[in-house]
């Protein structure tokens, strides 16, 4: 695979910083000529992942860093999201299901992981030397004609 163009984004683990990551990701998606719904969905996935790092890996404690690598390949856009906090326990991820007609079953949380898996083409999670890495991959078809083309 061709060498990627890449940018790294880093924030301190505070929820107030997450909109900066979101804005950056949406802006990058726009530069790549994604349509507005796709741009939103990419922003949404990265924001959900970073929120989860801050809430669950760092328990809402400031002073830790969350890093996001954005990698552009000719056929895919990859986000790698790094934290050094508590690792995810897959047993804590409940399936997302409810009965739309029963108000009391409606979820108020537990939607983030479902969103990632629904909108992304690949989702991997691994822990290496105490660092947790969530990899999100979106396949992209850059138009061969028009104001937008494949990177690199």
């Amino acid at each position: 695979m061709k060498a990627a163009n890449m940018i790294r984004l880093i924030i301190d683990s505070r929820l107030e910083n997450v909109s900066l990551v979101g804005g950056a990701v949406r802006g990058i998606a726009n530069t790549l000529c994604m349509d507005s719904t796709t741009s939103y969905q990419l922003e949404l996935c990265v924001v959900e992942a970073v929120n989860n790092d801050i809430k669950h890996a760092y328990h809402c404690q400031a002073g830790h860093s969350v890093e996001i690598d954005v990698l552009l390949y000719p056929d895919r856009l990859t986000f790698k999201i790094y934290d050094s906090g508590e690792s995810m326990n897959p047993a804590k991820v409940a399936p997302f299901c409810f009965d739309p007609s029963k108000i009391e079953t409606l979820p108020e949380r537990g939607m983030g992981v479902y969103i990632l898996h629904s909108l992304m083409d690949e989702v991997h999670y691994e822990t290496i030397n105490g660092q947790n890495i969530l990899t999100l991959v979106k396949y992209v078809n850059y138009p061969s004609e028009g104001a937008c083309k494949s990177p690199g």
């Binding site: 909109s19 979101g22 939103y40 969905q41 924001v47 929120n51 108000i103 409606l106 108020e108």
Partner: protein
């Protein structure tokens, strides 16, 4: 967070003057909604015309208000941007909430109900 709100008869219209309802603002949004419901509001129109980003925390806060009102009233939603609408569809919340294209339609629909 700025939430514009006004009453039309017994309907409360809430319009967030924010581009984002996300994890950093969801708690405040939820608390405001709670207070309005606690003070007796049972029919609420949520106008999302200014909002171009909602994450699962923001959606959870909206759902929370909806559950709090329960069968005693309703929260309906209007003027949702197409991109934000994709979140309602993905989470099937488009089947839970009545969603209207204009504030007037939302208001009429809510006024017609018991």
């Amino acid at each position: 967070m700025q939430l514009k709100h006004n009453n039309v008869k017994d309907v409360l219209i809430v319009r967030p003057l924010e581009k984002r309802i996300d994890a950093s603002t969801a708690a405040e949004f939820k608390q405001n909604m709670n207070e309005w419901i606690d003070s007796g509001n049972r029919r609420i129109v949520l106008n999302l015309s200014e909002v171009d980003f909602i994450d699962s925390s923001g959606l959870g806060a909206i759902i929370s208000g909806f559950k709090k009102i329960g069968n005693e009233g309703n929260i309906v939603i209007c003027v949702v941007k197409e991109s934000v609408m994709s979140l309602f569809r993905l989470t099937r919340m488009n089947r839970v909430f009545d969603i209207y294209t204009s504030e007037n339609e939302a208001l009429e629909a809510l006024s017609g109900k018991a």
